[in-house]
């Protein structure tokens, strides 16, 4: 089985979110970048297929040279090779088009992406990619078993989960649940050394139009101070929630 894992390069979860150039660009100053958490679950599930059933794993990122350390980390975790599509990932559709080209050229059976990237949270790349390459698609995927061509996938729905049957080729939008968090891999020294020898190909982008533009960013309005209520006066809390906040 040939697996492609889409890796988004995102600010670490504790990052302070600031903007520059008149609030038109994310300020990367002092920001640590990591593999998107949803993609990390997917990469670990791909490693499971590789170790249990035999599979090759290619990781791909659409982004500039600054994302290569993130791809190298994925190689150190155990992916076999990496591809970087050399362009700025400005819009979900644009990224999906770039990935579709990689999928068409590589003949992948299973494409694992994350449910969403934790930076722009668009949640559109996996579904768009699946539709562009005419593959089956399961979003918010929290369980995946594959036997030959037969797929059993579990997806999270509002208030529960749903078990689905389908076939390869398949794209998933994955998340926590695909593997346990305790199973996530931390690259060891040997992995890091081996990653240096692995192939990282730079592919040139295909022409694709953008459909949306991030025009401007805003930080949330500063919050007023918390109103503290004494634990001995919970009637006041009930009254505030009813009369002031109007939520009960």
């Amino acid at each position: 089985m040939k697996i492609l894992v889409c890796i988004s390069h995102v600010p670490d979860t504790t990052s302070k979110i600031n903007f520059t150039d008149g609030d038109t660009r994310f300020d990367t100053n002092g920001v640590q970048f990591v593999i998107n958490p949803n993609d990390e679950f997917g990469l670990t599930r791909a490693m499971w297929f590789k170790e249990k059933q035999g599979a090759s794993i290619t990781v791909v990122n659409v982004g500039g040279p600054e994302t290569e350390p993130t791809l190298r980390k994925a190689l150190a975790i155990g992916a076999d090779e990496a591809i970087r599509v050399n362009t700025e990932p400005t819009d979900g559709f644009f990224v999906a088009k770039q990935l579709a080209k990689i999928v068409a050229d590589g003949g992948f059976d299973l494409i694992i992406a994350g449910r969403e990237s934790i930076d722009y949270n668009g949640g559109m790349v996996p579904g768009m990619l699946a539709t562009l390459v005419n593959a089956n698609f399961v979003n918010t995927c929290i369980g995946l078993e594959i036997n030959d061509n037969d797929v059993t996938a579990i997806r999270e729905i509002d208030g529960g989960k749903e078990t689905l049957k389908t076939s390869l080729p398949l794209v998933i939008g994955g998340q926590k649940g695909l593997v346990e968090e305790s199973d996530l891999r931390i690259p060891n020294m040997r992995g890091i050394m081996m990653a240096r020898q692995k192939k990282l190909t730079v592919a040139e982008p295909v022409e694709a139009t953008k459909e949306t533009t991030a025009v401007k960013f805003e930080n949330p309005a500063p919050k007023g101070a918390v109103k503290l209520v004494s634990p001995d006066n919970l009637d006041e809390l009930v009254s505030l929630l009813h009369n002031e906040a109007k939520v009960i």
């Binding site: 600010p11 979860t13 504790t14 979110i17 994310f26 958490p37 979900g92 999906a96 934790i118 722009y120 949270n121 949640g123 559109m124 996996p126 579904g127 768009m128 699946a130 698609f137 399961v138 979003n139 918010t140 997806r155 729905i157 509002d158 208030g159 529960g160 989960k161 749903e162 078990t163 689905l164 389908t166 076939s167 926590k176 305790s182 953008k210 459909e211 949306t212 533009t213 991030a214 025009v215 960013f217 805003e218 930080n219 949330p220 919050k223 918390v226 109103k227 503290l228 209520v229 004494s230 634990p231 919970l234 009637d235 809390l237 009930v238 929630l241 009813h242 906040a245 939520v247 009960i248």
Partner: protein
């Protein structure tokens, strides 16, 4: 050239979010000087939609669509959009809609903006405000395609009553086998319990509760409020509560009207999941807990004393205000 809105149903009944997206669509249509057409799949009765500003309802009746199927539903909406020559399509932010929307966007060559939290700033150019960076910021997005697809965040807009009368029209999309290459084998859904996604009020517990045996306190409070229960990540990691209750950046987002956090410190990854909630109440024995900075109301105190007392107070309040 009406605005098309997808109004979700469950067992033939409209979900509350259906009325929210209809309310939203009505205002977008007013901005654009046009009408609202809703598409309802296997709905028993569509008259309620008129009360939220819908002018016309395309009624789809098809047994094959009894269970949600992203590809088939996207195909249905695509055909409805073509028929109505809709330039703007509005969907909700349910798990199902988020599954379907990217497929629909490709079929329609439509730019898609998800997590939209307010009405368009302008409709020409078409600019909407959406959340980004896990609710730590907003992004004004311009959709530049001819057809636009907007996913509205839950509880961001609310319900706006209207007094239109919705006319009904049967609509039979052409579906083919290719739409059904994914089959639902089983659905496992907690019934009779409010889910985090649908709840107006969420009561959430953290590691401060010390162990799963203390969760009846959280459940009692939730029951009085008709709320859903949730938890922080370590709580689900330790198996005290199911993963489906884990709230935060790597868990579920919560956009409720009221979020009550009990024994939760307020780590940045947890806050990322609840920033979109309107009113936040924190109960924590540590006055330095970071959650107090994000909260609207706070009680510094021991959860084991405060929560049962609060539950009693709320019971009294409910009894007096029934």
């Amino acid at each position: 050239m009406s605005v098309l809105v997808y109004t979700e149903t469950e067992n033939g009944k409209f979900k509350k979010t259906a009325f929210e997206v209809a309310s939203y669509a009505k205002e977008v249509a007013a901005m654009m000087g046009t009408s609202v057409t809703a598409i309802a799949i296997n709905a028993e009765n569509a008259t309620e939609l008129g009360s939220y500003g819908v002018d016309k309802v395309l009624m789809v009746k098809n047994e094959k669509l009894n269970t949600f199927n992203a590809k088939a539903y996207a195909d249905t909406l695509k055909q409805a959009a073509d028929k109505e020559q809709a330039k703007v399509i509005i969907v909700s932010s349910s798990a199902d809609s988020k599954f379907m929307a990217p497929i629909l966007a490709v079929k329609l060559n439509a730019g898609y903006a998800s997590n939209v939290v307010s009405l368009p700033e302008s409709t020409s150019p078409f600019k909407v405000k959406r959340t980004a960076f896990s609710n730590k910021a907003f992004n004004i997005t311009e959709i530049t395609t001819d057809v636009k697809l907007v996913g509205v965040s839950k509880n961001s807009f609310g319900l706006k009553e209207n007094t239109a009368t919705a006319s009904e029209e049967a609509f039979a999309p052409e579906l083919n086998n290719d739409d059904f290459t994914i089959k639902v084998e089983s659905v496992d859904k907690a019934t009779g319990k409010v889910t985090i996604a649908d709840a107006d009020i969420v009561v959430s517990g953290g590691r401060g509760l010390k162990g799963p045996e203390n969760w009846n306190m959280i459940e009692n409070l939730a029951e009085v409020l008709g709320a859903a229960t949730a938890c922080s990540k370590p709580v689900s990691d330790m198996g005290w509560r199911p993963h489906s209750e884990h709230v935060g950046q790597t868990g579920k987002p919560v956009a409720s009207n009221l979020y009550i956090a009990i024994g939760i410190s307020g780590a940045i990854q947890h806050l990322a999941g609840i920033n979109a909630s309107k009113v936040k109440v924190v109960i924590n024995n540590d006055p330095e807990a970071p959650f107090f900075k994000a909260a609207d109301y706070g009680v510094v105190g021991d959860a084991f004393e405060v929560v049962p007392r609060l539950t009693e107070k709320l019971k009294e309040f409910k009894a007096n205000n029934a």
